[in-house]
Amino acid sequence: MAACYFDVDGTLVRTNLVHPTLFYLANQATPARTLGRLAGAVMRAPLLGLAELRDRRAFNEALFQLYGGMSEDRLLLLADEAYDKVLRGAVYPGAKDLVRRCRDEGHDVVIVSGALDFLMERLAKDLGASDVIANRLEFSDRVATGRILPPVVAGPTKAVLLREHARRNGHDLERCFAFSDSYSDVPMLSVVGHASAVNPDAALARLAKAHRWPILHLDRT
């Protein structure tokens, strides 16, 4: 029994973590609050840029601080709309085919993403994925604190979580597949027997060529 592990942003969908975040910031309870949130995000943009330069985990943590103060009810209430407007149409057609093929071959399809769990669950349902490993916001009195619950799904942690998932579900890692677009996911790609670079960034493309991993371009179909 094997599993196929998929990164999401840039791999299965053309959007990234910023897009749903902007949707939530732009859909606050009042116009004033929306303006305030968007202004706050603009102010934090340089910080986000620096965090991205440092590492993916730092970027995720900085970005999700923007959710601080939003109620859990509102986040979940808007989740369907956020998914429909931001993610559903952004799924690459070739990605749907790839996931379907994995399912048809009897593989578990697992989404491994730094995005938020309630959005990834909707994507998983849409694609027919069997499991989701995603980031979870911390809530206090049903209000987001702006922090992520550990473990933060990013970089090397993805590899750790993937190993745990495989062990828990009896998957032989040598027979498993992993797909990602980003050099930051090299740890995750490195622990499976069949790694593939999907729409890779320049650094991952270079590494994939060196390792002779398959390079897929789902963004061109």
């Binding site: 196929c4 070739g94 085919d97 790839l98 379907r100 093929r101 994995c102 071959e105 593989h107 597949f177 797909f179 069949h194 593939s196 994939a208 060529k209 002779r212 398959p214 390079i215 897929l216 371009h217 789902l218 061109r220 179909t221």
Partner: protein, 537 residues
Amino acid sequence: MNHPSVVTLTRRSAPRALFAGDRFVEVDLPPGTRVIYPKPPMAGLKDPDAAIRYALNHPVGADPLHAQLRPGMRVLIAMDDISLPLPQMKRPDVRERVLTVVLEQLADHGVDDFDIVIATSVHRKMTAAEVRWIVGDKIFDAYWPKRLYNHDAEEPDGMRLIGETELGEKVVLSRQAAEADLIIYVNLNLVPMDGGHKSVAVGLCGYESLKPHHNPKVMRKCHSYMDPKSSELNTVVERMGRVANKNLKVFTIETTINNRMFDRPLAFLARDEDSWSGTERAAFKAMKYALDRAPDGAREGIFKRVPSPFDLTGVNAGETEAVHARTLQRCFEQYVVPVEGQADILVCGIPYISPYNVNAFLNPLLVTVMAQGYLFNMYRGRPLVKKNGTLIITHPCTDRFDEAQHAPYVEFVHRLLPETRDAYQLHKRFEAEFAKNPAYLAMYRHGNAYHPVHAFFMWYWGEAGRQHIGRVIVVGADNQYIPKLLGYETARSMHEALEMAKDTAPPSPDITCLHLPPILMTEMAPLREEASVGGTP
């Protein structure tokens, strides 16, 4: 007496110029070595377009195409892919000429419900630029990509069971083929193993219908892919093709071309080196000098930029088998060189191109396909080399693969071949796993990669040669491990290779050099006892 294309070397003979990938090597072969050259190109048809119109209006074994057309019918036009011809031909490609006439006839008879599919089977999908080259700007701009597209053997719900042979072989073809009122197949027949029932029954099928013939058992029974009567592969394909033609209406158009692979300034490359003029010798030296010093990409670019000036030598249309009989006759007329006596040692240059690496690098697996697959099989009657004889090839065997086209080949060569070279073991243990690999299948469907099982088929392709040839020695390999993985020995020079070959050859061995490209085939009458029992030559 030797055929004019067979030359016996003397002490005063010039070195032979052989391909070694995308370079040339000059080799001194011992006096007495027999060198077999291609026949000169046959004359092309003077008016190809008129010949095409004549063929469609005067078909063999079928009504003229126009008589089969009626408004409201659904037509599928299928055509051969970029693996034919080699290299690509100068524009207009024969297929553009034929399609132009066919589309005119469809329009004249009110048939507007048609698609044009490139019958790639499990070959890679052609790029838009490649399709444009073959069909021409006018047809491409009018129909690509909605009504002119590549066959997709893995399209969900894209294949249909057409029927079964008496031996239970399933004929599963594309939905478009199954639903068409008429299939018009536009073929370009480069070698005798092309065309005939292979066009529809293989070109428009998928893995399910390839399994009955693309397997080690069938390949071992092929006593030349290029002689359909002696090819088990052809026997199975014909059996399946007859089922297809019984259930579908097929109008076959087949074309043949001559072997004018090199344009005039380089035409001397197809001739005996002793007949080269001083100018030709200087041109060769200059070309060799430039190729030896050009970086990899540039060398490949030079060859890619030179399409071949092939001429159309024949066009026939109508019922598949009747048409193909005429096509084969024309093919053999161009390629077959009669020879007498098998060689103990066969020398071949491996060129830069094969049907499976157009616009890509000839990777190690394809070196095998060329050596023990195509070149070994370029015969009728008896193989050019004796059973357990030695094949010497010139090629660098570079460990390099095109990542867009040949990703599954990498895993095949580097993961599977170290475990076993036994085709049956590879077939049983690994083929099904590759056939289901979602990453490779996505590359096939959404990119320009070969289907993952194609790597296995390539290994099986060399199976008949692998069973027949005793040793393969590579001259000029740039590494040791790739030849070892392929089961080859290496030598630093042709002299060393010949000395190694003599270790297992009889005293004063017969040495023969097959000097190609351009394409040629040898014909050697079977020994009386072989002919009577139909055994392995």
